[in-house]
Each structure stands twice: as C-alpha cells, then as structure tokens.
Symmetry: C2
Subunit: 337 residues, 2 copies
Amino acid sequence: MKHITIKEVAEALNCSISTVSRAFNNKSEIHPDTRERVLQVAAKMGYHPNPIARKLTQQRSYNVGVVVPEFLNPFFPEVIMGIQDVLLEKGYQVLIMQSNENDETEQKNLKTLEDNFVDGIILSLTQESKNINYLQHLINKNYPLVLFNRTNESLTVSKVLFDDYKWALFATEHLIQQGLKELVHIAGKSHLTLSKKRKQGFIDAHRKHKLPVDSSKIIETGFLVEDGIRTVMELIDNDTLPEGFFCVNDATAMGAIKALKKNGYKVPQDIAIMGFTDTPVSSMIEPPLSSVVQPSRQMGEVAAELLLRQIESKSIVIPETVVLSGSLKVRESSVKL
Amino acid sequence: MKHITIKEVAEALNCSISTVSRAFNNKSEIHPDTRERVLQVAAKMGYHPNPIARKLTQQRSYNVGVVVPEFLNPFFPEVIMGIQDVLLEKGYQVLIMQSNENDETEQKNLKTLEDNFVDGIILSLTQESKNINYLQHLINKNYPLVLFNRTNESLTVSKVLFDDYKWALFATEHLIQQGLKELVHIAGKSHLTLSKKRKQGFIDAHRKHKLPVDSSKIIETGFLVEDGIRTVMELIDNDTLPEGFFCVNDATAMGAIKALKKNGYKVPQDIAIMGFTDTPVSSMIEPPLSSVVQPSRQMGEVAAELLLRQIESKSIVIPETVVLSGSLKVRESSVKL
DNA sequence: AACGCTACCGGAAACGTTTCCAAGGCCCGG
DNA sequence: CCGGGCCTTGGAAACGTTTCCGGTAGCGTT
C-alpha cells in the first residue's frame, strides 16, 4: 500500500522533480525525448501522480457534489450516469448524496459538500425544500451551482429543466382526446416549479378544449407510490372518482392503478391513467402505463456541462436555463378502446 | 470562493498554527480554555480545515470506492445507501462507479479508483467478470477490499453474501409444494458464486422431494429483463414450457411474465413464477411477483464495516465472510389456486 | 568575437495541514 | 530554594505536487 513518489522517479532517472512533473503535465517546456524517457520509466515503476498533492497545489478538489432527493427510482440514477459521463472524462470525481426527500438532510448534505471543498454542486430539490436561504448563501458566495429537474424560480442560478408545461398540456390533451371530460390531476408539492408547470399544463389543456376546470380537480400530494394510493382511496371514499387521472409522476400513477384495481375498477376501461417520466417499470405493470418520456441521461450531461463552465471560468458566469424536450409514450393505461 | 486557512485563524488569535490544529484534532495536548477560544473564533471566521491538506499529511484519501454492475434496479442503490450510512459517519467519502455489466469497464473503474488512492474498494462483480487477475493483484498488494453479492470463490478476500443456496432451495420447494413437478431455472452466468448457489438450491430441492432434475431444466442467461424474455421465447418456440419458473432475479422473472402474457399464457394459472431479490416493483406488476427478500441495505452496512476494519487495522486482516439471511415473500405469481 | 535569444532544465517556494521536538512556565517535593 | 517533571505552547519538518524564476548551453547574427 506504499505508493511511489515523483522523487523516487526523479532519482531513478537522475533528473530533477520538475522535469518529471513537466513530463506528466505536458506543458511542453521539456524535450520530447526526455519526456518520453520519463514517461517510460515512470510507467515501469508504476508511478501515478498523487492526486491529493496535486489538488493541494492547484487549489482545486476536482470533486463535484450531486445531491438528489432519492435514488431508488431509476430517474435520478440515470441523470447521475449522465453527469458522470461528462465529469469523469474531465478528471472530476462525483460525490453523490441523497436527501431522502428530507429538508434537513438536504441542507446537511450541502454543508458536508461545502466543507469538503467540492468545486461545484449539482442539485435537485427535495419535495419539502424550503431552505432556499442556504442555497442563496452559496449563490452569493459565487459557488458553482446547477439545479435540475426540481427547482425553485426564486433562485437565479443555472438550471436544467424539462419542458413540463408543454408535455403536461400534451398529456392532458391526449386524455381529453380519448373522450374524457372529468379529469383529476394528482399534483406534486406546489413550491416546486415542476409541480406548478405540470399543473398549469393540465389547466390550460382544459381551457384550450373549453372544458371546465377548477381547484377541486387538482389534488396536491407527494411523489411516492403511497401518495397515489392515498389520494385515490380518498376519492373512492368520497365517491368522487373522475374518468381519468393525470399524475405528476409514474410512482403516483402506479399507486393510483394499484388502488383502483384493488377496489375493482378497470384501467383504462373504467378510468384512464397517465403518468410522467417514463421509468422502465412503466411498461412492466398491468396495464402498461402511458407516460411522458424525459431525457434523463441528457439532463445530467447538460447539468454537468453547465457546471463545468462555471468552475472553469475565471469571471462570473451568467446563469443559464436549458429546457429539454421529451415525447409522449402512449401505452394501454390511457387508451379508451 | 476563497477559503480561510489555519494560518489566518492563528493570526487572529495571536497563537501558533499548531495550537489551532490541536484544537481541531482533540488530541488533548491543549488547555481546554484555549481550545474553546480557538474553536469559537474559528467558527466565527467560518474556518474549516482543508480536507485535502489534511489528507496529504495523513497519507490517506478518506475516499472509498464502490463498484457495482449497474444501478438502475433498486438493489444496488439500496446497498450503496447502506454503505454510505456507515462510511459518511466516519468521515469517508464514497466514490460510486458502475460497470454496465461490462468486464472492461469494471477493470477501468478499479484502475481509476486505485490511481485516485482510495483507501479501499467495495465491489460487486459484473456478470461477465473474468478479470480475476486484477483483483488478485489488489489482494496481493494488501489493498483493503470487500466483495458483496456477486463474488467468485477463487478469491480469498472478505465477502458479504446472501444465503443464496438456502433461499433458492426454499423458493423452489415452495413451487414444488404448489404441486408443480416440471420446473425450469432461469440461471445467471455460472462463474458467479451466486448463480452456482441458486442453481444448487434449485437442484437439491428436487432431490429432497425425489423429483427428477437434469441440466435441461437449467438455462443459463443474464440478469436483465430481456434475458428473461429471450429464454421464455425460446422455450415457447420449442414447445417445451414447464409448469413453473424459478428465476435468478426479479428482472428475468418480469421478463418471463411479460413474454408469457404476450403469448396468451396466464400467470400463475398456466405457469407459476418465482423471482429473487424482491425489488419494490415486484408488488406493482401483474400478477404481483413472489420473490426472495434480500436485506440489501444491511448488506451495504456490513460490507462497509468489513472494509473499515481492514483500512484501520495496521496489520493484515484475515478475510472474513458474512452470510446474511432473508425471507420468502409469496405473492400471486407463484400460487396455484 | 561578442552578444542575445531560445530551448531546456534545476532549485526552491508554495499549497494547508499534522506532528515531532524543543522550550518555557509552573508546581511540588526534597 | 532548587531541581525535576508535567502541562502547554511554538517552531519547523514533512506530506507530494506544481510552478515561478533563474541558469546554462548552443546557436545564429552582426
């Protein structure tokens, strides 16, 4: 477990440390022949520059923090894979933290990352996220920061978003085109931009098709399977089931389906369901779930690139918002035969 | 983005760097009063010891690498959460890498981690993993290493395993008790211990109940949904479908169900299915999938603790194998009514 | 022949800690 | 009253790099 140092390589080569360093850093103040020789000997000795020492002189940690609300559903893992694709390539390490949809954990995670001198942070807010203050503090310090997917509009910071409004509108329209008039939107927590946008899309689809819509058709809940179940159960108890549901994500949609089936309703014959995000399981459940496809991996890549730009620029970078588009995957759960 | 250093704190306090350092490291060679004063001023100044400099002197990276084959299914994320629970607590950072079930990527990941001077590695082999040599090289170097879930018996190294044999036997027995005689095991790649164990459990359950079993009943394939689909498709084409399937994991089981349903077979009425690992989706699909419950989070915790023991011990640690137990979750897919 | 320029290289400071060693002050026992 | 020991602190080396600065050799120019 003892590692070889630059000094030992220099001694073996009978040259100075600087020369060895130069050979590795390719800064061209070195004769190509020497460079070659150094590299060869170093390789033979199994030398790798100690990244820690390197980071110390360069005053950079080459670490980037990623904070997500959870990673049991495949959406966030896929985003992370996109992030890693870009950052590992550039020599950065990615520290992944998850907040368990919990406000305090999120803040603790951010603190931990800050204390660890990460060069930048990529973040998706928890559904409870109201600790905008801490984020504002980071922004004020000019800390490189990118938010994705779940954001809050009061923060002026780089963001990578999905065109939630548009696709919520399309998805709702799709339900309307199946001849459904009584729809309910199972919505996410309203302080997240994402929830607002999807809700607005749902409302505007009604307007566009001259259908009545009011707040009774929108039920705010969480992002979990249980939230979907609970919501539907309450509607059943009140005997106020609609003809179709547009759900804020696949998990709540799956919960809705589960609750409906358990109570003897048929999907989509009795009630149609539309999800959002299109997780791989969507196609596995019964009936296969219609959903909005989000380019999760790409979302990660873009977020990483925005962050890199902030990290590597000397001057202050103007926050930038990238909006990605998706597609509609119609399966059985939303189709009236 | 400029950080406060220990020097500035020392100057503000009009004391030496050593004193400040001591205050933070609690090594008690310092007067409690001074310690208190230092800590207060440091906190007021917003000082945090630079972890990079610290790592350099301590000759430790306080980084631990985790390599998993994939993390789209929830099993590995859950294990990782267990690992993080333990390691973050102790001040370690966790670098997560995924190999995409690909041999070469796995080796590259290990190299990257080694080059980054991680203090230890926790690993689950890819299904293709035959690059035992590289692992052996790490073991020989006495590099702290723990394998979990997917291992290879030729490596003498600490391992955290699930009692695959026992639960495969139980799961198969459960199918037999449903009155089924013609079973097929959709198995994983045979160089993984896990595959061998589950296969042996399948075989021994037959022996125990005096049922014939031969290699034609065991079909080796991968760990993905597609592998399950392909396997069942071939059986349908050959008109050699059994009465029940015991699948090496939930993904292949879900693939099997999908393929069967598409071809008009009813699960479990025509053919019963048993999965393995019990991912959260199991309960969502139609019919709900019976499966073996694995304590994934605990697996991560144990792996992390085994690794810590290796890292923090001065002398060589004798490899240790921990075997965890689980339970059988019987849902509809395996129950003959 | 003297000069300057370029190409290459070595020495040493710097990065921010930890930790070893030495030193000063104080208390206590003789 | 003095010496030894302990408690607390300061100074400085060390960790393994990068990078600035200065130096030398060789070459071409006048």
